[in-house]
Structures are given as structure tokens and as C-alpha cells.
């Protein structure tokens, strides 16, 4: 059993960590509850800011971890603390004794229908960022009209919103909205595209360029004001209302398609697992790192490490960096045993 490393969660964090651990001479065990690897990124079409293919990233990672033991469609059903590690029972009946655990269980997209006023699931032409990515990737979506004339993006759906029980910024939605707005404009050059934002948080490398591009080259319009409510008109359009806070006036308009930028919230599906492992939750609802400044990948429990969005919203490069960092931390930790 010595040196068994179990990675729980096969998104890009888990995959990258597995790859790094393989390179360090370990043979990690990767457990993923879904039937495929890749997590949220695997479902995404393109990544900001360079519009690289998300699928290619996942496929590459997949090809680089063939040496790992991978269990798909598998959950951890129980977990016991041992003297020098953990004993895990999986849903397929296998029991693993592990010296180190890496939690890379990621996040959950906010369920947009909980913002009832936006009418996701009630109005015909309201979709989420994830739905749009699916459509970009080729899936059919009857909610998206043939030739939309006007498309709106609502930022911060379920983020920075105490009424949605998530006061945190989801970090990736502003850039995602801009990315999707540009992609929409590329598909429908004559559509008017509006982004309704509270604040634009474009902190990352080249994000600001991305923003200027959207304005200058794609004429995407940014309206500072949160959409208050959405209704359906008699001809099936959407009527949205917001305050145009820069002019201080109420604003309404009709849209052919509304995209809700569902935020990043903690993954409640792994609540049982984390409580079995005795992991604490931070005030933002995500898992608590040993230290939020310099030990983000370490948990309060010996031998349990974190990577990726299980500790809070992260961009792809941040997640990859954390996964590598966690792999190194695990490697160092195993040497101390």
C-alpha cells in the first residue's frame, strides 16, 4: 500500500496532477464519478483569452496519463483514517489504502433556474453559458434562434449575490461572457450583443485586450446594470429590464436570446466525502486550505491535498499550476513517511 496516491476528481486538475505524479515516478489512482474524464473543461468549447480548444487540452492530458490507474463512473463510498494514511472503499467494491489523497473535485455551476426572475427553464430563449458552449461544440439547442438579432449576456448569475447564497466572485465569467459574445458575433455578425455587468473583473493576462477587442472589433455593448427581471413577450421575445447605472435611468429591451453566466459554486456532491475526511469548509463555502496565502494545496488533514476549483473559483492556468504544485507537495510528503 505504501505510496498509493488517490486522486479524487478527474477534471483538468486531477489529470494534470496525475501526469505530474507519473513524471515523478508514482502511479496515481484517479477516481472520477462521471463516465469520462475532463470535468467542466471537457464540456467547454474554447478557452479564453486565446480561444484554444478545450477538448484538445483534455485529449492531450488524457493521452499523457495512460500510465495511471483510472476508475471512471466510480465514487468513494466510505473512507477511514489509518495510522499512516486512508482506507477508501469505492462504489465498484474495491478498497484502496492510500498514503496520500488529492481532492480535485472541482466546482458546480450555479443552477441558473434558482434565479427565478431570469426565467431559465421557464422562457423559451433563456440559456446558460454551459448550454451555449454545448451548442458551440455542435449540440442542437432549440432555444437558440436561427438568426438572432439581439443577444444579451447576464454576468454574475449566482455570483456575488447573497440572495443566491454565494457572495463570491466566480472569477471566470467576465472573460467567458466576452469570449462567448465574440463567438456569437462571429457566428451572427449582424446581431447586436449586449453584456449586462455589475463590475467587469478582467484581471488576467490579455483579458483587457480581449475586452477592447470585443468592444472595438465586435461592437459588443457593455451595459453596467444587473438585469432585474426577464419576461416573455407575446411573440416569444424576451423583455429584460435593468438599470443603466451610468445614465441613471431604467432600461428595457427585447432580446432574441439571453445567456446567463452561471457562476462557480462549491461542489455539494462531494459534501459527504469531505466530511468523512474531516475536511473543513472556508467562509466562502469552498474547502478550506491550510493557508490561503502559501499553502493553498494543503488541507488541514495530513496527507490530504487540494488542487483546482475545490478551494474556490479558478481559471484553467491557475488550476493547472495548482495541480503541479499539489503533485510536488505530495511527492515531498511521501518522502517524510
Amino acid at each position: 500500500m505504501h505510496d498509493n496516491i488517490v486522486i479524487i476528481g478527474g477534471g483538468i486538475a486531477g489529470m494534470e496532477a496525475a501526469k505530474a505524479l507519473l513524471a515523478l515516478g508514482h502511479t496515481p489512482i484517479l477516481i472520477e464519478s462521471a463516465p469520462t474524464l475532463g470535468g467542466h473543461v471537457g464540456r467547454w468549447h474554447k478557452l479564453f483569452p486565446d480561444l484554444t480548444s478545450a477538448r484538445e487540452l483534455v485529449a492531450r492530458l488524457r493521452s499523457e496519463i495512460v500510465g495511471a490507474n483510472i476508475f471512471l463512473g466510480t465514487q468513494v463510498i466510505s473512507m477511514n483514517r489509518l495510522a499512516d494514511g486512508y482506507s477508501l472503499k469505492l462504489s465498484n467494491g474495491i478498497v484502496i489504502n492510500a498514503s496520500a489523497l488529492l481532492i480535485s473535485t472541482g466546482f458546480k455551476l450555479f443552477e441558473a433556474d434558482r434565479k427565478e426572475e431570469y426565467g431559465y427553464g421557464v422562457y423559451d430563449r433563456v440559456i446558460t453559458n454551459a448550454d451555449l458552449e454545448d451548442w458551440f461544440s455542435g449540440a442542437d439547442d432549440a432555444r437558440i434562434p436561427q438568426q438572432p438579432q439581439t443577444v444579451g449576456f447576464v454576468h454574475c448569475v449566482g455570483s456575488r449575490d447573497l440572495k443566491a447564497c454565494n457572495g463570491q466572485c466566480s472569477k471566470v465569467c467576465c472573460a467567458t461572457a466576452i469570449k462567448q459574445a465574440i463567438e456569437i458575433k462571429e457566428r451572427f455578425p449582424f446581431a447586436r450583443v449586449y453584456c449586462f455587468y455589475m463590475d467587469l473583473r478582467l484581471f488576467g493576462k490579455k483579458y483587457e485586450d480581449f475586452y477592447v477587442n470585443a468592444q472595438r472589433d465586435y461592437a459588443v455593448q457593455f451595459i453596467r446594470g444587473r438585469v432585474s427581471e426577464v419576461s416573455e413577450t407575446i411573440d416569444g421575445h424576451l423583455q429584460v429590464k435593468a438599470e443603466d447605472t451610468l445614465s441613471g435611468k431604467p432600461l428595457k429591451m427585447q432580446l432574441d436570446l439571453l445567456v446567463l453566466m452561471a457562476g462557480v459554486v462549491r461542489n455539494t456532491a462531494v459534501q459527504e466525502l469531505t466530511s468523512m475526511a474531516g475536511l473543513e469548509t472556508d467562509s466562502d463555502g469552498f474547502l478550506r486550505s491550510r493557508d490561503n496565502e502559501y499553502a493553498v494545496v494543503e488541507s488541514g488533514q495530513p496527507g490530504i491535498f487540494y488542487a483546482g476549483a475545490c478551494t474556490g473559483p479558478k481559471t484553467v492556468p491557475e488550476t493547472i499550476a495548482e495541480a503541479r504544485s499539489a503533485a510536488l507537495s505530495i511527492h515531498a510528503y511521501l518522502k517524510t513517511l
Binding site: 433556474d113 421557464v122 423559451d124 419576461s231 423583455q239
Partner: protein, 356 residues
Amino acid sequence: MILEGKQRIWSEYQKDIPDDHWYYVRSCIRQNFFPASERMFTHIVKDVLGKDLYETPHHTTCGGIAYHCDTIPQETAMTIVARQFALMTEAGYENYCPSCITSFGNYAEILETWREYPELEARIREDLWKACRREFKKPRYLAHSSDLIFHWRGEIARLAKKRLMDVRTGQPLRIVEHIGCHYAKMFPSKGVGGAEYPYVLAGMVESWGGQVIDYPERRHCCGYGFRQYHVKANRGYSLSNTYKKFESMEPYHPDAIVTNCPGCPYFLDRWQYVIASQTGKTYGENGHGIPVLTYEELAGLVLGYDPWDLGLQLHQVAVEPLLDKMGVEYDPKAKYLGLNKEDLMRPELPTQIKCY
């Protein structure tokens, strides 16, 4: 519109409504505006459905109007409400049913405030004791009288003499349901169906055979807005909000509007006349307005009562087109005869909107 989406939301906002033993408090103003509504309610609950509904003449206003007009502080309203609860407690009831939406909101707001700030509740108990030597228990259930009709909508449907159908075409009537702002906008969980897609009136309309209309300004206030109407300088604003709603519902050609608030039916009804007088515009067919009914009046029509007994002659907008569609028989000559066939005298009829 995806109906399943709405149904899912409706299913999430269920409300416990006991089937019997209610303590009923009337609205300050409804008996003036719609004289048969509360009478109809007590009649349906007690006589038709055979339930226990208790009333006392000692109850007063809940303080809601004054509170929303910024003329009394909330503590005063709370003490008034505490006395109402004391009357209920003294009568041996614990299910509280106000007829007024603003009262309902006021009670809900006060109960929630007390839950958050128990020390405030303690102070109010003390104040009430000092003021009138009364003590109270908080109601176990709080439901608006429209919640009760919603609760019994199935039984009413079974007893129905008329349905919300156009007897001439067999098509369901298109009904706009308008919910008072204070019903669920403050506490979505306190209302049947929540705040965004309230089901309380929609449920009645569906059960009685009608079709609910969802239009863009469905959520919007009727226009009353308390101080917006009461201060004359603001009255144009009050009117403009009503106008906005009518403009929004106009393309759907509704046959009637049903409401559950004291102010809403009044303003949706009377402002149609003002809008017509100022702009010449009417929203019903052939120069008529859109009839605006309270849910009790609608229940009364469904149960087959005489429209003039329901006080529909006191509406500004003529209800006759709706009665004709529903196949309700009425005597036009008896319209302005009171309960005891006393002549109420004919009002002067407006020129811009068709009335009888």
C-alpha cells in the same frame, strides 16, 4: 413559455393551509370598493363549504396603510398587530386569515421581524400589556383569504354552475391574474407559487376552466403605490404605472383581470376610465374596458350568484361583456337596484369608455 418550468417552481412553493378553523379579519377599504367580496368569502367558507370562520367586530386596521404611507413607525404597527393577535388568542383560534394583502404582508413582515429580533417582540408584548392589558400568541398559520380560496378551489370547481369559458366559442377565457405586491414580493416563501410566478390566482383560474395570461409587465405594481396615489402631485405617476401594465397586456386581449388585493382591482378598474378620458384609449372589445374582478367575485360568478348581488354594478368598467361570455344571466334593468331592490340611482356614464 415552458409550462413544466413553471410547474416545477410552483411545486417548490407549497404552503401549509389548514382546512378549517380560521380567524378572519376584514380589510379597511374593501367593503367600500367591492362591497360583496368579503361577504361572498364568508358565505362561501361558512355556508357553502361549511367551515369554521370566526370574526370579531373589535378588530381594527392593522396599520399597514399608515405604515406604507410613512405616517406611523413600525413599532406602532406592531402594537396594533399584537392587539389583533390578542383578539384571535382570546377567541381561541390560531389560524389567522386577513382579507387584505397589505395586512397579510404587514403580518408576515412583523412575524419575520420578531423571529429575527425576539427582544423587539418582547418589547411589543410589554407595550401591548401597558396599553390594553392584553396578551397574545402568535398565529400558528398565516394565510391570506385568497390562499384559502386557492386551497378550496377544487371544491368550488365541483360546485361550479359556470365555468371560465366563452359559452359561444367553447374556448377558455383569457384571464390576467394580478397579485398584490405585498403578497409574496417580500417573502416569496409565504406565497403560493412564490414571488416570480405566483400560483394562488393562476391555480383558481385553471381549476375553474380559464386560461392564465402571462405578459411582460405581469410583475408590475397596479399603480396604486400608497403615497404615489395619496399625494396628488404623484398621482400622474400612479396612473402611468397602471397605463404601463395595460399597454403590456393589450396584445393578449384578456377577457378579465382577477386580483387579490384591495387597492389593485380598484385602480386597475378606475384608472381605465381615467386613461380613456385622457387619451381616448380603451383596452377591451368595442370600446369597453377589461373587467376587473376580485377572486371572491369571480368565485361568486362561478358558483352562479347574481352579478348584481355580487356588487358588480359598482365597478367602473362594465362587466357585461364578461357575463355574456360566461353565459351568466342578468337583468340589465336590475343593475342599479340594491339588495332590497331599492333604487341606487344611475351614475352618470362616461363618454370615452363604454358603460351601461
